[in-house]
Amino acid sequence: MSGKQGKLALENWEPEFASNALGIHVCGERFEAHNSGALYWPGEQTLIVSDLHLEQGASLASRGSLIPPYDTQTTLGELAVVLALYEPERVISLGDNFHDVAVAERLSADVLEEILELQAGREWFWITGNHDPRLPDELRGHVTPQLTLASIRFRHEPAEGAVAHEIAGHLHPAARVAKRGHTVRRKCFVTDGRRLVMPAFGAYTGGVNVLNQSFAPLFPAESFQVWMLGREDVYPVGKRYLLGD
């Protein structure tokens, strides 16, 4: 396509591109995707994040890999930024909140305090995940394996088959596109308008290509779109433009 056409089209879509959040519709509800990997639901004043994997560094260190211990701080810092931006009344953290329960139970006072500060003044749901079937007792908020809110079900692992009305995490989706012979690979949101899988939010979390087999059963109609996390924006890309790894 020529750049000129693209620009023209871009101007028409200006409102959606104006902020670094973009509207995604799932089952008639409108959400805003943020390039940090958080999803905001204006209708419910709810912010959704997934796969924080807090204390992943410490967990790996306990197994002999002394990677920098600042991941928790980084992840919470990012979260604080989005919380300040949307000021949600409610937060849903979609599981794998902590990378390793055993390590999470030795949480330092600083980290604990930081989390409690983020939780202050808002309702908070910790969905449990495969990494964290239970959570440290000191934390505030509700701990539950799933939650339904205004007909949408929130859980960590996506349900099997082509269900609708669901927002889940667990799979760490990422996508790859090519332009002018160059490729870019980023974490992304993925949805067919009926269900949505969230990107992983944690500082040390990577991504699995959405063309990978693990996504196929979730979107059997073969048509989905991804919203790729850029440095400045979230970018919608159709499935036909995506590349495998």
Partner: protein
Amino acid sequence: MLETAIDTADALRLPQPFEAWFTERGWRPHAHQLALLEAGRARKSTLLIAPTGGGKTLAGFLPSLVELTGERHQSSEGIHTLYISPLKALAVDVARNLSTPAEEMKLDLNLETRTGDTPASRRQRQRLIPPDILMTTPEQVALMLSHRDGPRLFGSLRYVILDELHALVTSKRGDLLALCLSRLRRLAGDLITIGLSATVAQPSKLRAYLETQSTGAKRSKLAGLIEVEGGAKPDIRILQSKERVPWSGHSGRYALPEIYQAIQAHGLVLIFVNTRSQAEILFHELWRLNQHNLPIALHHGSLDVGQRRKVEAAMVAGTLRAVVCTSTLDLGVDWGDVDLVINVGAPKGASRIAQRIGRANHRLDEPSNALMVPSNRFEVMECQAALEAIAEGAQDTPVPRKGGLDVLAQHVLGMACAEPFDPDQLYDEISSASPYHGITRETFDRIVDFVATGGYALRSYDRYAKLRLNKEGRYRVSHPRVAQQYRLNVGTIVAAPMIKVRLGRRRASKSEPGRTLLGRGGRALGEVEEWFIDQMTPGDTFAFAGEVLRFEGMREMEALVTRATGADPKIPIYESGKFPLSTYLAARVRRILGRPAEWKHLPEQVSNWLRIQRRKSVIPKVGEVLVETFPRGNKFYMVCYPFEGRLAHQTLGMLLTRRLERGHARPLGFVASDYALAIWGMRDIGQMILGGQLDLGELFAEDMLGDDLDAWLAESNLMKRTFRICAIIGGLIERRHPGQEKTGRQMTVSSDLIYDVLRQHEPDHVLLKAAWEDTAQGLLDVARLGDFLKRASGRIRHIHLEQVSPLAVPVMLEIGREPIRGEAQEDVLREAAEDLIGEAMGER
């Protein structure tokens, strides 16, 4: 030194079996061989510099062979002589070459090799019953030293022979080896080193490498030096082509018929090129011309090992007429009777090209025969400069490295695996190695801390420490697992993530007649870097392993390809990153350019080009830096000619565009070659300079290497590459092993993410410091850029032109060939999104 060597030669007598062996063959030992023998008797570490064909290897072994056979000292249980080479193949080759005379002389000694390919059972046995002479690589030495039995194995070591030392000292393997040497010296009180090297610019650095440096000493202690003069001067020509020499590009395509003629006229021709992709192109094109079906082969580092071994065997057997190769054939292994070396493309360095040319001849007294084929007009000047430099015997080998901190971290862990270490003692030991001489105690302590707990200001990992202090104040490994981890990760060679390329088998589909399916099970052709496959979409074609291939897709982490027919391949991007133009050669090229009297040595079409440049613009005087500005299309260009190599120019380009941005010149992009840098923008930079809105002196001011450089690095992805390598060598993340993990990006935590987090929270962490040093040296050429900016200060000559100048044409032609940078990734995403929008708006 040479003189004394000859004097002592007469006084010396070789012991009987040796004397007889030489006499039987009608040979006399070379003076330098006897001189080295004497050095051995005097227990003096020595550097031997000799050209290829000088009997260098035998010379290196003579002292230890004589000692082993002579008054055969008590057969101790340890190794007597350690031979260390940078190449596995070389260790094996030398073992073979040494066994023959040893057998002929009926020497009673035990000689073995040990490389990564040696079966575990044999390695085990070698530790139980060590051979007299062990031929090995730096990694194997490190590995052996990390075991508790080091003192038994090495306690009676008498000689360490370091082959191809000039090549070792410029890499991290050289750092590792230097550290291992410092430990070997501690274990074996009576050890001397013998370094074997090609001619280098600064022999004293190598001599220091061979000796123990003492803490606090101002002057380095140097090993002795024996230098052998080169044999006959090589016979080198620059191709005087009847064809038009191109303005830019690196393919050398124009000269193909002439290269082919040269192959026809000779027995075995080695054709050296600078990159693998050039090798592929040239090989492909030569076969198109090859009406006589001459046996022409291809050899480069990505090809399947089996395929490379076949080519090497065919060379030795004399069944080949030409081999197109890269630096994989640069080092000492003797591959048969080469009678012509052709170098296609830029020589890049005078010593480098001289060593390549030396491959054409393994007899000292005959001249090597070589042909240089420049692939563009600037390269013609570079070839001329190299020719003159070789005639004068000038040397411009790279200087040995300052020791890497990541390598030190690896060594510290290895030493803890061997036995608990006392930090004071280990500090003295490691700083006796010349690459680490002068390292501060504070830096050393930070490295120890890094190895122990990660070295983070946030002391949260103390409970997971890998090293702990014991009661005697020594560091010991906290868990046997740590030693296992060390042994799996030892070494400093970190390959880019590679993907295997496999030829797919076509078979007819049973369910859909007429349709063919693609199955695996075909031949593996070799490996390519992951980034290269990353940029391909199924259906793209590329030249690899001497064939044009069609990329069909990924299957189980292998790239599946089929043979493409007829199509012109999409070729890998030209990457000259590895060898920038040497500073020495660059100065010579500038001198040729600045002195029209010297143009008469250049081919007519090149000197004409320079004459037109003089008429349309100016020729910079020697010492001057020319900056040209001109409009073209609807953009404005600024081109300068520092001749400092592509890396330094890229860095300069990045920094200048930042400054131009601040100066409201609205720059859009830049492109760098080995010779020049072109920047373009929306505003007329030339008019801005003439109108006083832009000061060239300020623009090129040296202080750009301070804050501007920092600010740019903070935004760019550039350091991530070096950081990953440092993190693996330093033991922060684990090396991938075959079958263990599938691609680089599936590593437990990606090194890119670790880098981001560490840079944000602890920017002066010791590992970032190591990565920064590597980046400054290997990717940015900061030191060289600094020298240029100093040189340019007050000597910039600006000329504003109506149109592009002849000198600017080559770099202008490079525009659009450059690979994308991290900064442009956002554009790729934006464009991908626009596709979708276009679709939604019904534009397609």
